[in-house]
């Protein structure tokens, strides 16, 4: 089957999912699918820097928090226009990425991991100390965000909006990694010294990738707040950042669509395990350890191996 047809079918299925859920009388799954789409955006954005840039960020949930608080703070002041929320999130997320990236990108490797984690933690504590916006307890949003005539508190509307963002970011991402910029980013991942010797100022490329990635993840944060009508520092906990890394690895690093697969698989896995036992984190933890030791290229790699490629 040609690839374009495959993508078209997948897209049609994604768009029609709410109707299928209705027919089956399982409206719950629309909300779940929205969660998957939202985390897919966040994981996809992380894959740009992690998979293509070779930059392991363990603080990506900070951007989810920036997006969520953009919605929360505007809404608490009576501004419910989603485009305003989104524009604010894009600007704030980009700015935070720019400032922290300038410092974090002075280092590499393991130091970069620790610094991104630390900056996310800084933002976490900042949110905790923002008593005016709920502090530790978080902030409940009483007014639904609106997109023109659309009400984003409607499950289906929000789902389609999330899918639209996801498709947009996937298309942008695919275009970006195939561009000259993407080639340089990937070259620097493999051999930094060679790239410098060729005359590339790779820190600028990495910084730009980091900023773009942060902006996309901030949109995921907005959507998360639209969905839960609630924002709290917990959105940017370091566990959340860890989960995003797991999603990227699970689906197959450096593939973009793998991040979507990974987000779906991890969320479904969590759901299934939580249905089995209250102590599902024990099992999930063991699975992650086993995955790191054995299945190194994620599900994408497994699928590729099964199909006999590579």
């Amino acid at each position: 089957m040609p690839r374009a047809a495959l993508w078209a079918i997948l897209l049609a299925m994604a768009v029609l999912l709410p109707f299928a859920a209705d027919l089956a009388g399982q409206g719950y799954y629309v909300g779940f699918a929205t969660r998957v789409a939202i985390f897919a955006i966040a994981a996809l954005s992380l894959d740009l820097i992690l998979g293509y840039g070779g930059l392991v960020s363990l603080g990506h949930a900070a951007f989810l928090g920036i997006g969520a608080y953009s919605v929360g703070i505007w809404t608490s002041h009576g501004v419910t226009a989603a485009p305003v929320h989104w524009a604010t999130a894009l600007a704030a997320g980009g700015l935070f990425a720019l400032v922290t990236g300038l410092i974090a990108l002075r280092t590499a490797g393991v130091a970069f991991i620790m610094i991104t984690l630390a900056f996310a933690q800084m933002l976490f504590f900042l949110a905790v100390s923002l008593k005016a916006y709920g502090g530790d307890d978080g902030l409940t949003l009483w007014d639904a965000a609106r997109l023109g005539p659309l009400d984003l508190s409607d499950d289906r509307t929000l789902y389609w909006v999330a899918i639209a963002w996801l498709v947009l970011f996937l298309l942008l991402g695919r275009h970006l990694v195939a561009s000259r910029f993407g080639l340089v980013l990937q070259g620097a991942r493999s051999n930094e010294r060679r790239m410098r010797a060729l005359g590339f100022d790779i820190r600028r490329h990495r910084l730009l990738a980091y900023v773009l990635s942060g902006m996309a993840a901030s949109i995921a944060g907005c959507l998360l707040a639209h969905m839960t009508d609630f924002v709290s520092p917990a959105y940017m906990s370091w566990q959340r950042s860890g989960e995003l890394v797991v999603m990227v690895l699970l689906g197959g690093i450096g593939t973009l669509h793998g991040a979507i697969l990974g987000a779906a698989v991890l969320l479904i896995l969590e759901e299934v395990l939580a249905g089995l036992t209250q102590h599902w984190m024990l099992i999930l933890g063991a699975i992650l350890v086993a995955m790191a030791l054995v299945a190194r290229r994620g599900l994408h790699g497994l699928l590729a191996a099964l199909r006999g490629r590579r």
Binding site: H175, L176, A178, S179, R180, F181, G182, L183, V184, Q186, G187, S190, N191, R193, R194, M195, R196, A197, L198, G199, F200, D201, I202, R204, H205, L208
Partner: protein, 253 residues
């Protein structure tokens, strides 16, 4: 003739060790200036200083009339100083063609190029294929660079260094470690580069293979313990007693 590259009083210390000790050095346009010396003589450190990968503790480096002592590596590359590494440094998980495209991209594009597809761009692809043809790798363009034989990787690396039509090439042991066949091919390739009309880059050649050095070099500088102990044309270096004592030892013919 004004030198293309001139180095004055260059010093680099690593703790108590003086790796590069007040080195004076010039390269004329079109000249092959070889640097030889025993292991630990400071040759690689010296080359790293020229490339901008390390900062000198003292001294000046001037390239084509510009003082480049404080410039970082990528900025020196943009001025026309290209580099091939001792440990082969291609992008191993890219196909050969994609490596060459990157090198061409480095010489043509400045902005980020986010809107332009890289592997469908005729300017980049044509340039890359010309480079590969020049070093004899055209038939292997779709193999992963990491899968190439050692000698072929060195040729690819040289091709990448040539992409920007550099005015100065810094070559760190391009021949050492290759088989006799590959070694002859590389010497021939280097000959063709220095004689290519219109380009004639200056070349700094750090190399252990003395046969190749005496075949290629216009001048030879001998380093030992960070210092320059001799600098002259090949015939006189061959005859120099101090050099024989310090370096060539009993192996000298």
């Amino acid at each position: 003739m004004t030198p293309l590259l001139s180095v004055r009083g260059l010093v680099r210390r690593y703790g108590a060790l003086v790796a590069v000790d007040h080195v004076e050095f010039t390269v004329l346009p079109g000249e092959v200036h070889a640097v030889i010396g025993p292991n630990g003589a400071g040759k690689s450190s010296f080359l790293a200083l020229l490339a901008g990968e390390a900062r000198p503790d003292a001294g000046e480096i001037e390239f084509a009339g510009t003082n480049i002592t404080r410039l970082p590596a990528f900025a020196r590359a943009r001025l026309g100083i290209a580099r091939a590494f001792q440990i082969t440094a291609v992008i191993p998980d890219f196909p050969v063609l994609q490596n060459a495209v990157l090198a061409v991209l480095a010489s043509v594009g400045r902005g980020f190029g986010m809107g332009r597809a890289a592997m469908h761009d005729p300017v980049l692809l044509d340039g890359a294929r010309r480079l590969l043809a020049r070093v004899g790798l055209a038939a292997q363009e779709s193999r992963l660079a990491g899968d190439l034989a050692h000698g072929a990787q060195r040729q690819l690396e040289l091709a990448m260094a040539l992409a920007g039509r550099p005015r100065l090439l810094l070559l760190d042991e391009p021949i050492a470690g290759t088989g006799p066949e590959e070694s002859r091919a590389m010497v021939a390739l280097l000959q063709s580069i220095r004689q290519a009309p219109g380009e004639r880059p200056g070349i700094v050649l750090v190399e252990h293979d003395l046969e190749a050095v005496f075949a290629l070099a216009d001048r030879i500088t001998v380093m030992a313990e960070g210092r320059v102990i001799a600098c002259d044309v090949p015939d006189r270096i061959r005859a120099d007693a101090a050099v024989r004592a310090a370096y060539l030892g009993d192996d000298a013919r």
